[in-house]
Subunit: 528 residues, 2 copies
């Protein structure tokens, strides 16, 4: 990544956020002469040595205990077709019973066929993301029932806010892809919601995306929409994963019908399945983090092994979502020290199996305060040092996932960019060591106007979107704005600057025709 | 650290902060039936593998470049006595000139005599701190000219706030020691300020402390006060370091008179000298982080080598304080990606020389908002993963060090405790793996009421002081409090609970007599 690119980003993304704010103390005017270059923060690589909390023996113990669970206790598999496939693969299935047990060797043979890395394709090839290895990919908040900003408060999800959040995801290169519906637009009928939402995502972004596994037909519609968006054949799409789905187990130890169906539809067509047990220690999992990890690992291995029963070599990710609850109230807690440990240990498990590792940027705050920031920062610390490959909910996740926050989205973008800058190699060239500059300035001088400084000052450092470094007097005169105030302004300015990414009119036409046809057919049956 | 201790802490430290708040939504009443146990978070050990950003070659390059600076460019040494000592040690000193140059081998021979770890003694032996190795020690904010809380706003430092901040430092075991005056009490005349402040520190805390190097007499008074506080002989004190001083170079490449005098007085008596260049990249140091590190290392090695000229084996620390400026305004920036890199690379340099490493918990926010939290959290990330041994400004540092904030102090205590909990080894005993508990609950159940959970739920997880995990409705009914609100309440409740640590009346009498005598002598001459 060149310094020129860095400069382009700085001016485009933060002119109004920081520069303008600094030039005119308290001013709210936006300068829009530049646009994002569209090439910054793609293909992030995390070359840090992975932090490990588990010794090799402890890692073995967790691994073996989870296989013992699958072998001796088993999982409830709530889909007859899945049980049949499992039986065919050698699992211990009793006719008419949901409980299925799995030989540990069978599980490990299936896990061995999982690819360690793959490309997830977007309709714009520049937005393709590499999953696994040392790659680090950020996806937007997903699945919040509520949405909030400071002006409008907290409200039920709706199409207008859904679209705005998708536009925000498109506006920052650090958000590599979307990740489900950032907020659930309940003003669209559930029978056709996936059609409207996914066609919006294809039109408003050119990034890779997610489909919910809520019944076979929704999976099939999503796969078709992704195929149309890319303008390719089904055969090509099977070779080139272009869609992902999150499969949550119903912890403890249960995989529900739509989830199993999702695995069948997606894995059989070579699309990406992310198996993520939701193992809150003390609620759906043992109260110890080690015990919750054992259960997480059992559930993940079961789901992942099933993907390989469906299709050997199908691309998947190992999802970790173990956290703790507040034992006083039972409320889920995130971004805690226990969460950090679970994230890092989960990474060790995923790497043991050679499977790309999915993590999350979490917090449980009700607003954009210090808590929101420290819980998120601790999450980012753990997932970065722990070797997360894919970060769902990377931007905008608030209130333990109940709310998609516009301001939190901007805060997260800024923090993600800081992580990306931190991961950039430190330049230790002779020029960077600056011996000549030190010689020129000498004892007692300063570096403000030197040639060495002037040649680099515009691009030397990351310029945050939100950090307010004005002196106290100027800051007070400007009305003592907080990060919340700045984020509120920046998200609106970003939406004003938003431009739709180009889409081939023929593709758009095909997409509209498909959606219209499926709507005419009634979408999918619902309980409504 | 046992679970029992953890419980004691939780109830004592957070009953009013979290538990009570949860039990009575929105209530402000404080329950004060328990007191801190006084044994939690002592002797913190950081067993994480250190994160490294510099290859062995790059580390060599920085090392060699800094020695080239000392050899070819030299440092300005603004104290004749220091130049004489340097000349005697073999440095290149020209009579009547301040510039001194140092042979690289001479520097490295002196550095080799530095102890890799030592004990810093407090008047309460339980509060002794181990410096170096894998130990991690937190000291309170130091040297802020302003002080702030939400109620009183930002104001000049004064004795009342000084005392309150010292009391806060005493109230939390995670704050292992004080670190200079948390705020400069300008309502005490400068000639006697050190006498009042240090005798306050000895009386209001039983933790180790700092003295400013602002002239020989202040050092000597501080050493005598520390000696009296411990009730020991000068001979014992010389064997047992009981006081530390921060020596900042006047970057670039200058050591001022009082700093050099401080090294002479402190090192000659076996007290602790922390040499910390203040190398802001782009201002007092090259605009590149690598260049700023080269200069930091040159200045640090020079000061550290001088301590060993004064007394071989004198205890010291290698201080890193390299950050960047906002190139738009020249304002110092902290907790940035560049700061993180400098902290981690600085740790590699300190470990290369086998010297304990001093870092800081920084941020540049004007208030207790998300920025304050994320800049601090990123600082803590870097210094924890980078192997900091000693963290000055660990709690309360705000606004780039200009303000000591009461609320930020509490926020930092909470974050430091989270770091400490994160560093606790993950329990992977058979009991923690919880296979029996998983067997008992089985698929589809829950863990809320199980024997395994009930036996552990009170101590299983860290209970934050500030995190507000109530659901949105309850939180809204309580008036939508932010972290700032909670921190404001908690700091006041903590001060209400404060109790003076026991002090031998004979020691207190001797201390008062010494201070009275020195005041009668006029303290120290000042320019006022």
């Amino acid at each position: 990544m060149s310094d020129e690119e860095s400069l382009t980003l700085n001016e485009a993304q933060i002119a109004t956020a920081t520069g303008e704010r600094r030039r005119r103390a308290g001013g709210r005017g936006a300068e829009r002469s530049r646009k994002p270059s569209g090439t910054k923060y793609l293909n992030l690589v995390n070359n840090l040595a992975r932090t490990e909390l588990l010794s090799p023996d402890a890692l073995d113990d967790i691994h073996e205990a989870s296989l013992t669970i699958l072998e001796e206790i088993g999982m409830d598999i709530i889909l007859p077709e899945a049980r049949e496939r499992m039986k065919a693969a050698g699992a211990d299935v009793t006719p008419g019973r949901e409980r299925v047990r799995f030989d540990r060797n069978m599980i490990m043979e299936l896990i061995a066929s999982i690819p360690s890395n793959f490309t997830l394709h977007a309709r714009n090839p520049m937005r393709n993301v590499e999953i696994g290895g040392r790659n680090l990919v950020f996806a937007q908040v997903a699945s919040a029932p509520f949405v909030a900003d400071r002006d409008g408060g907290r409200r039920a999800g709706n199409q207008e806010d859904f679209r705005k959040l998708i536009k925000l995801a498109q506006s920052f290169d650090i958000i590599h892809m979307t990740g489900g519906y950032p907020v659930e637009p309940i003003d669209i009928h559930a029978s056709v919601r996936h059609l409207d939402c996914l066609s919006d995502i294809v039109k408003l972004t050119d990034k890779a995306f997610h489909c919910y596994s809520l019944g076979q037909q929704r999976n099939l519609d999503a796969i078709e929409i992704a195929r149309i968006g890319r303008g390719i054949s089904m055969e090509q799409m099977e070779r080139e994963p272009s869609l992902f789905t999150i499969i949550n187990s119903s912890s403890p130890l249960r995989l529900d019908g739509p989830m199993l169906q999702g695995i069948i539809e997606m894995s059989s067509r070579g699309q990406v399945v992310v198996v993520t047990p939701f193992t809150l220690a003390g609620a759906m999992a043992p109260v110890t983090i080690a015990g919750a990890l054992v259960q997480q690992n059992a559930e993940a291995l079961c789901g992942l092994a099933f993907t390989q029963m469906v299709r050997k070599g199908a691309p998947v990710m190992y999802g970790g979502f173990t956290s703790n609850v507040d034992m006083k109230t039972g409320a889920p807690a995130f971004g805690t020290p226990e969460y950090m440990k679970a994230v890092i240990a989960g990474g060790q498990l995923a790497r043991r199996y050679g499977i790309p590792y999915r993590t999350s940027n979490t917090n449980a705050s009700n607003t954009l305060d210090a808590q929101a920031a420290y819980e998120s920062a601790l999450s980012l610390w753990a997932l970065t040092q722990g070797g997360g490959n894919f970060v769902l909910h990377a931007a905008g996740w608030s209130e333990g996932g109940l709310t998609a926050s516009f301001e939190k989205f901007i805060l997260d973008v800024d923090m993600l960019q800081m992580v990306a800058e931190f991961l950039k190699p430190l330049d230790v060239s002779a020029d960077a060591l600056a011996l000549d500059a030190v010689r020129d300035v000498g004892p007692g001088g300063h570096y403000f106007g030197t040639t060495h400084t002037l040649a680099r000052y515009e691009t030397a450092f990351y310029s945050p979107i939100l950090s307010d470094w004005r002196n106290n007097e100027t800051w007070t005169e400007a009305g003592s704005p907080t990060t919340y105030d700045h984020a509120n302004r920046v998200y609106k300015e970003t939406l004003e600057r938003y431009e739709r990414p180009p889409l081939d009119p023929a593709i758009e036409e095909e997409l509209d025709a498909f959606v219209a046809k499926r709507k005419a057919e009634g979408g999918v049956p619902t309980d409504f």
